[in-house]
Amino acid sequence: MKPAPFEYVRIDHPDELSALLTEHGPEAAVLAGGQSLMPILNLRLRRPRVLLDLSRCRALHDLTPTSGGLQIGAAVTQATVLSWPRLAHQVPLLALALPHVGNPQIRSRGTLCGSLAHAHPQAELPLCLAALDGEIVLRSQRGERRIAAADFFIAAQKTACRPDEYIAQAHIPCQSIDEGSAFLEVAVRVTGQAQVACAAIAGPHRLRLAVLAGQATPQVHDYPLLPEADLRDQLDIIARSLALSCASADDDAYRRQLVVSLGLNALKQAQRARDRRAAVDAQIMEHRR
């Protein structure tokens, strides 16, 4: 379990990264926290000629609140995002989901953008980005482009990022104050890979459910406010239509079953969270009067 030979370059400036990616293209790999890439290298599943380590590039370490959301630089670790004081207020879904990503050791090295870049079908962060209508900023010497999550994740471990591009930052819109969120996950172990995860957002007029159940890319479904029985029907449709190919048929069946029960629970929890939030707001308004 030793990686194939590679050249290592420590990146100090983003321009350097763009230049080297233009030069080496598909033969380069971008290293940030290494929590996905290093095992892949050690198992020789990828054998890049050049490893471009951006983890110490100052310019990519920014976590910036903007008017509409949160900009997260390529080198920002998951632990940093999770410890951002306003996270639970501005993007509650992410605050609920991040504790399910790996464990504290992994989050302290792993980056949010790195997880998006690897697009593992069982990873929580691509699911959240899709649920939140997040965007990804891809940068190369040709310039920058902003791409929506829905267009970014193409297949399992395959994204729209071209060989000369890197993820410069992720943009995550703030959630509206009248929304409630829930994130539920089932894994064999407490900190293991998710077998099924469901991210739910409940607004005053609509519901959203993003599902990860072993299919290639995250799926997002929007519904009007439906009674529970109708939601269950909708979830049955999702469960049946999931394109799964697990190691065993038993796992397939299990995931389909869980999508329904977990999805429904997530939607219910999100609505309760929304109602609680509204109740608190009403109290505050009352108080102010």
Partner: protein
């Protein structure tokens, strides 16, 4: 012997090992320096489960950067013989595959390069041409008459088929008012030490009178009977295969037994390279190709009376030992053979044991060795007996237990169960669990539609293996021909240095258990010193230290045998010292008192001699003390329990010297939405005889419990339909993390063993035997409140959420693929 508290007490105190281990100053095999010029080995392994080898072309690898040599099957054939097996079998294992490969991970060639990176790079330059053959992937397939063979030239996959009969089981079964049967499967799993294998080998062409000799440093942990197998494979006398061991081993749980074939391989690699070579097993190699517990299929049946008393048992067991019958297999069967009747007084027993080869990794020692397989069948059966007869399982236990006044008890198949009070241990467990409250909680949960179950398991935990037990697999005639094998020698040496310091040597390689702590405490107590005054060295050297075939760290032989040998050696040396200094004190030798670092005559504590001065005396002035025999400077003791005889002519075998007892209780809830199992309370009650160090004993229980929980809920070595291995990394083989393991409530009773010097028995393997089946019994109990619970009795490990949810669906009378009603149980 006096056992005073604190400084001089033998039973408490911190581990002498911990400061170094916790500060990163352990000395593990990979930490030890190598000679300059040592090469690093990487092993090319088969990617096929079963294939003919059309060619292995290493020429490009030989020319690769940094490569010094490549060991091939031709070298292996030239310089060695295949590994001997415990039985006469049609196929023996070569250390490199030659004409065909028989499991994924089987070694094909070894590259020796300047570093491991270059060695692995060169592996990719080796071209192997495979001609795939149909693989044998499970026991059922192995038994088919017209199916594939694990080796193309085998007439059949069954390599051993023995039947045994004790008492009159047929009559008892025919006369029984109830017959309870169960078909059980136990999966392949393993014990996953933190540290993988390490071998550093060197060949000395001038040794052995010019025939060549080998020296090895490895974290192999025995049994050292395998040293003979290695020497014979290498075609050298045992004295010319020198084996040395590091101070620390990062866990073994038996699995490092499997390193013996790698030791032979690396010796040959060193010979090819003409340089010392080092190989560090990586996690993928360890998971794929090191070892596995045997998978087993058992058909078990009991003749049961109306009150739940079991009159007879019948076992029909089939073990999958993988591609080769690797020594000491089929020991998985025979370690447990004498005590197949478990904790119960059952005198009629019928057994059929078959061993099949499959195209999977060869099996071997894994914590619990043989116990998990037996008890998964036997203890599930006891649960079924209670359900089928409408009895309280606790009554079934109490009615069948060996009575406390029956010890030492000769079990039907020959185990001489030394001591115990099973009903008392059960009572202690129930009290610790507060069983009444748990049953109330269960009633309450069930009334709310929740799935809450309580399970039990009673196991007899053998320790200190009889070196002759595997021969129970032979017929009596074959045994007579081969000559008797029995006993379990443990060796210990206590010696005194020229300033009176005391050093202890043992023939067990501790893998974290704290052997050095216990030995220091025993010896310190004998000489009236503090444990910190005693040095314990466990770095065995086969050319310098005392050892025999039973040496090693396995079968929980330490507490009962090794610590006992240490105790005897220390006492003998003390008695000889007393003999020599009695004149100085003007008293009889038996009246010399060793206390607080000095000596005095009994009743005259005011006249003391400093101990160090007395102890060191013979080094400086041996002539002064020779009158009373050789100077008392060193004492080596070989101890073997007297009760370990060779198997009898009627196939009865006492496979172990001591038999501890474990009674477990598990209360759990199944989440109906996810199928996850949540343990509400787990009590494990042990009787391991006299406890030498309670904290270390509890540590063994905690670790065993965590591993057993993994075996119960998440761990399995999986293969796909082509025999490709699917559990290569720790993200595929799911070990429980600290967040997944609840703290068990541990309680002890102590009935000392009459057969070991300190009355101690092993305690490290009990939970590997009891916990998986206890959890399964609790799951079965939880599912029993479902309307069609008969559909969910076929419990297979691991009980993953998916498996459990399918059982829940089956119990509700639904196809497992349908959707279930959402009823989230309240889970604490």
């Amino acid at each position: 012997m006096s056992e005073r508290a604190s400084r001089f007490g033998p039973s408490a105190g911190t581990r002498v090992e911990d400061a170094a281990l916790l500060c990163g100053r352990g000395q593990f095999a990979d930490d030890l320096g190598c000679k300059p010029g040592t090469l690093h080995a990487a092993i090319l392994r088969s990617s096929h489960a079963h294939a003919r080898l059309r060619g292995v072309d290493v020429s490009a690898a030989e020319r690769a950067v940094g490569v010094r040599a490549v060991l091939t099957a031709d070298d292996v054939t030239r310089w060695s013989r295949p590994l001997l097996a415990a039985l006469r079998v049609p196929v023996l294992q070569p250390v490199l595959a030659k004409d065909a490969v028989h499991y994924v991970g089987e070694p094909l060639a070894v590259v020796l390069a300047e570093n491991r990176y270059l060695a692995e790079d060169a592996l990719e330059a080796i071209r192997v041409e495979y001609e795939p053959l149909p693989p044998v992937l499970d026991i059922a397939q192995a038994l088919t008459l017209d199916g594939p063979r694990a080796h193309a030239d085998l007439a059949q996959n069954i390599v051993s088929d023995r039947s045994y009969c004790y008492g009159d089981p047929d009559a008892a079964l025919a006369a029984a008012s109830h017959r309870v049967r169960l078909q059980i499967a136990y999966p392949r799993n393993t014990a996953t030490p933190l540290e993988c294998g390490v071998v550093v080998a060197e060949h000395f062409p001038d040794g052995n009178g010019g025939h060549g000799a080998y020296e090895v440093m490895s974290n192999f942990t025995g049994p050292m009977s395998l040293h003979a197998v290695m020497a014979m494979a290498l075609q050298v006398p045992e004295s010319h295969l020198r084996l040395r061991f590091p101070r620390d081993v990062g866990g073994s749980f038996g699995t490092k037994q499997s390193l013996f074939s790698a030791i032979v391989l690396l010796c040959l690699a060193a010979r090819k390279a003409g340089a010392p070579v080092k190989w560090v097993e990586d996690r993928r190699e360890h998971m794929t190709a090191a070892t596995s517990a045997t998978a087993r299929r058992s058909h078990i049946e009991a003749a049961v009376q109306d009150d739940g008393r079991i009159a007879a048992l019948s076992f029909d067991q089939i073990d999958d030992v993988g591609a080769y019958l690797r020594a000491p297999e089929p020991a998985t069967f025979y370690r447990m053979h004498g005590c197949l009747t478990g904790a119960y007084a059952i005198q009629h027993l019928r057994v059929r044991n078959r061993v099949v080869l499959t195209n999977k990794t060869p099996t071997g020692l894994v914590r619990g060795f043989g116990g998990p397989q037996v008890y998964f069948a036997l203890e599930r059966l006891v649960q079924r007996i209670a359900v089928q007869l409408g009895l309280d399982p606790l009554d079934v236990y109490r009615r069948n237990f060996i009575a406390k006044d029956a010890f030492p008890y000769r079990a039907a198949a020959g185990a001489l169960i030394d001591s115990g009070d099973y009903a008392a241990t059960l009572a202690v467990a129930l009290q610790a669990a507060d069983i009444t409250a748990l049953r109330d909680r269960q009633r309450q949960a069930r009334s709310e539609g929740r799935l809450y179950g309580i399970g039990f398991a009673a196991v007899v935990e053998p320790s200190i293996s009889n070196m002759g037990y595997v021969t129970a697999a032979l017929t009596a005639e074959q045994r007579a021909h081969a000559g008797p094998k029995q006993g379990a020698l443990a060796a210990a040496t206590v010696q005194i240095d020229p300033l009176g310091g005391i050093t202890v040597g043992i023939d067990s390689m501790p893998a974290g258990q704290g052997h050095r702590t216990v030995c220091a405490q025993r010896v310190a107590a004998v000489f009236g010193l503090a444990p910190g005054d005693i040095v314990v060295n466990s770095e065995l050297d086969t050319q310098k230290d005392a050892w025999s075939i039973a040496a090693g760290n396995y079968s929980c032989r330490f507490a009962g045998a090794v610590a006992g040998a240490v105790q005897i050696a220390a006492q003998r040396l003390r008695d000889r010292v007393a003999q020599h200094c009695a004149d100085l004190l003007g008293c009889a030798p038996q009246d010399v008192v060793f206390a607080a670092g000095s000596l005095h005559a009994r009743g005259q504590p005011e006249h003391i001699l400093p101990l160090a001065r007395v102890l060191s005396g013979p080094h400086w002035a041996p002539a002064l003390s020779t009158e009373a025999g050789p100077p008392p400077l060193r004492e080596t003791v070989f101890f073997t329990p007297e009760t370990l005889h060779a198997p009898s002519s009627d196939d009865r075998v006492n496979a172990s010297a001591t038999y501890g007892f474990v009674f477990d209780l598990c209360a759990l809830e199944i989440d109906r939405t996810t199928g996850r199992v949540y343990i509400d309370r787990y009590v494990t009650a042990h009787d391991a005889g006299r406890l030498l160090h309670p904290a270390l004993a509890d540590g063994q229980v905690r670790g065993g419990f965590a591993q057993a929980l993994g075996a119960a809920l998440s761990e399995e070595l999986r293969y796909d339909g082509q025999g490709r291995f699917a559990s290569q990394t720790l993200s595929d083989y799911l070990l429980p993390t600290c967040l997944d393991v609840p703290a068990p409530i541990i309680v002890h009773t102590q009935t000392p063993s009459p057969f070991t010097p300190l009355g101690a028995k092993g305690i490290g393997e009990g939970n590997s035997m009891s916990t998986p089946v206890c959890i399964a019994n609790a799951v079965a109990d939880a599912l029993s409140s479902l309307p069609q619970s008969e559909h969910c009795q076929d419990l297979r490990l691991p009980l993953t959420p998916a498996t459990v949810l399918a059982l829940v669906a089956g119990g509700q009378g639904q196809a497992a693929t349908g959707t279930v009603a959402v009823q989230t149980g309240k889970i604490r």
